[in-house]
């Protein structure tokens, strides 16, 4: 067997090994209910902002504390605590992807990804009298 072939085999083995070890890092998109089952484990939860409940961010009190309620895909609304500043345009987001874990009754989240309204709507040229 040629040396290069051996090297190739080693490389393939390493690549597979890397991908297998990586697989453990991957998370899944779940609902609050699933996340609640394994309290303390990090998950991604997709949902929408629950506009019936109040947002709370007061940098004067604490610049790193932002709370809101999110409805997940099954409609369960849960309080979310984000340790950071309130993201720009938060209220306008169509969809939220939170990374974090359940702790007690709250979802402690360390990353928020917002999906903004589709460009289609945004591109509509609004011609209200106000804008003229």
């Amino acid at each position: 067997m040629k040396k290069t072939n051996i090297v190739l085999l080693v490389v393939i083995a390493v690549a597979i090994g890397v991908i297998v070890t990586m697989a453990g890092d991957f998370s899944t998109y779940v609902t609050f209910a699933t996340a609640k089952e394994k309290e303390g484990k990090e998950y991604h939860v997709i949902g929408t902002l629950d506009k019936a409940q109040a947002l709370n961010y007061d940098p004067v009190k604490d610049a790193n504390y932002f709370t809101f309620y999110m409805k997940d895909k099954l409609g369960e609304s849960r309080k979310v605590i984000f340790y950071g500043t309130k993201p720009t345009d938060f209220e306008k987001a169509d969809q939220l992807v939170l990374t974090g874990k359940i702790s007690g009754e709250e979802f402690h989240c360390d990353k928020i990804l917002m999906k903004c309204p589709s460009k289609y709507k945004e591109d509509q040229v609004a011609m209200s009298t106000k804008k003229m």
């Binding site: 040629k2 040396k3 290069t4 090297v7 190739l8 490389v11 390493v14 690549a15 890397v18 991908i19 070890t21 990586m22 890092d25 991957f26 998370s27 899944t28 998109y29 990090e42 998950y43 991604h44 997709i46 961010y57 940098p59 004067v60 009190k61 604490d62 610049a63 790193n64 504390y65 340790y83 950071g84 500043t85 309130k86 993201p87 720009t88 345009d89 938060f90 209220e91 306008k92 992807v97 990374t99 402690h108 360390d110 990353k111 990804l113 999906k115 903004c116 460009k119 289609y120 709507k121 945004e122 591109d123 509509q124 040229v125 011609m127 003229m132």
Partner: protein, 835 residues
Amino acid sequence: METKYIGEHLLPGQLGHFFAVLSFMASLVATIAYFNAVRIKEAPLQDSWKKLARYAFVVEILSSFAVFGILYYVLYNHFFEYKYVWRNSSRTLEVKYLLSSFWADQEGSFLLWSLWHSVLGCILMFRAKKWEAPVMTVLSFAQFCLASMLLGIYIFGYRVGSNPFLLLRQAEENINLPWVSLPDYLSKIPDGNGLNPLLQNYWMVIHPPVLFLGFASMIVPFAFAFGGLWTRQYTEWTKPAMPWALFAGMILGTGVMMGAAWAYESLTFGGYWAWDPVENGSLVPWITLVAGIHTLLAYRSTGHALKSTFFFFFISFVLILYATFLTRSGILGETSVHSFTDLGMSGQLLVYMAVFTIPAFTLLIMRRKEIPDVKREESSYSREFWLFVGSLVLLIAAIQITFTTSIPVWNKLFKLNMAPPTEAVFHYNKIQIWVAIVLGLLTAIVQFLKYKDTPRKHVTQKLLWPTVIALVATALIGWLGNINFRAYGAGFLVAIYIMLFASVYAIIANTAYIFSGLKGKVRSAGASVAHIGFGMILLGVLISSSKKETISIDKMKMIEPGFFGEQSKENPRENLMLPRNFPIQMGAYHVTYAGDSTVPGDPKTYYVVRYEKKDPANGATLESFTLYPDAFVNTKGQEGLTPNPSSRHYLTKDIFTYITAVPRKDAANDTAQYRTHQVQQGDSIFFSSGYMVFTGLQTQPENRNYQAQTGDLAVGAKLQVYNKNNEQFTLQPVYYIRDSTYQFSVPDTLSPLSLYVKFSKIMPKDNKIELEVKEGGTFDDYIVLKAFIFPYINVLWIGVLIMIAGFVMSIVQRAKKTAEKVAVKSGKIAVSEEL
């Protein structure tokens, strides 16, 4: 009835679209003509095809430039009847950012890409000689594909491309809106939508052209390799392809790092690299191209690794197309912070990828037996063997990055529900650090090996001193630099130390090689210089990220305890509120927010943040400087702010500051009044969010705004403040009489509770004092910021520059050698010692 619209400028758009279609047709003609020039062997016929192809390609070049010019013209003149102009610019936009508007959307960036193809094609027509026809076939075909992206024509009900000259009133989303039928609708659109504030940055003017030149130049090595395979001249293409591959590597690398610099300068994720899909998309092809350059070198010197060279050059270009697909089809949706518009061209982008991938790899597989190979086995002491190993290590890096980046694709393909790693950066780092280690070590050692075989003594002899010096230097850096990054455990720290050695070793060994291996011949030292730069990049990345320090830590602990528990690793409380004119300790600095300012003609608000470093011994100011982080506040259609960081650059570190929140300026003004309280020792005063107890007087008061002078009669009121959570704070307003006559009062404030307390009177008769308390109901003069220290980030940037310089040196040298026209017969390879 047809509406007659007033004030529209339709001619530029019609011309623009005409030229877009012309460029589409001309590139098709050029492709077919060049294809025939390759296929047909009779000289006169071949020449006439070639001639036709050249004319067609020249037409293509001219029309690309015409489209470019016309689009710029409509942008420059603010013709808002065009959707592209309306969407991406506004009248207030500074002229220098018009170019950023130009490539803000897909159409503009495809146009930029095809413009670079035209320029490269122009050079290739003159320089590629006998490779002109096959190489230009591939290039013209790519132009054809790119031109189709700008068509915006419906073919069999499917829209092909997107026309940048689409009129606003004809845009899909506006059809049937009432204003569309108004003849004078234009007078009601006084201004455009404006450019995304993130793109209003000088890096966004220069980074896209460089990056797209990188993208465009990646096709040249691909085209040469494909031409070689297609015409069955399996070996000759390698020589002219070399300088092009180096050029592509240099430009793409520069473009990627410019993107990193842009992210560092104007994005606020607090760094230069976040392993975002968009960044990965352009990094991975660079990695595989570099692998290809190294196998090509091995082949040029020994005849080994030709097949892998084909593979790497093919895959690099395919990965460019894949990156284009990923970032522009909208598939990344939930995983990338970058926002992309989906123009409904995903299908077209997939076809673009397929038409290059399938022929190239099919041909490679079909003709793999015909590709010459050396039967003899490489020695383990040969350079080519380790070049090959290094390339495979690069391939592993590319596979890992691509695999994770492609998660949304796997989800779509296999109907999975995978989410990206929750700790994305560490996920990449913990794997790539080992790749970096192996690469660093290989970079250090392999230069000292000769092709074919190396006497054992030679290696140990030449490597001895560089190794010793590198070990000592690593120990010194580790010891003096106090590298102690424990956030991810001791195991990762060990990896960091090994990588520290590997990168230092790469720098030192390659420097040594210039003298001991090349005898100081700087002309041929391109590779060594590039490798030194690479080593410095590794070193800079390592130090700046493992020693990155957040100084804006909020120590107020305003929330219940338990906050800094297990969560604290991911969630250091990195945002700090600075009330105006209220110095707050941040690391070694006292930082004061001194107000904001705006400049006419510039939509940004600048925040004045003063840093002062004081000698702890005597309070003397050691250093002071002011940073002006800025932000677009309440830009059109957005409630929040889009900040740009500001940094203080030192040779050895950067202090990086940006605004994360500001109060709404239109919030109700502070109308609260002081209320007077007369208290005795032990009395309490209640306020809305807590209470304070007057615990006594202090004759030598301590208040940071009070400077004692001789002859002062001063007294401070000691106040213990409790908030609702029963947390304690102290206040000490001061009352003093100076020069026996003037009475002064130095108030004290507790900004987190927006509490102001004045000590206004002493009433010795009643044994009472008078305090005035004010609560700023809407305390709105503050900023919230984040600040980091990036140590030795300059090592990274200098490393990038050195690496680019190394690439340039190699290109110059290779291009010269190609020009010397040494005839190399197939299979017989000139063995050259220099790299």
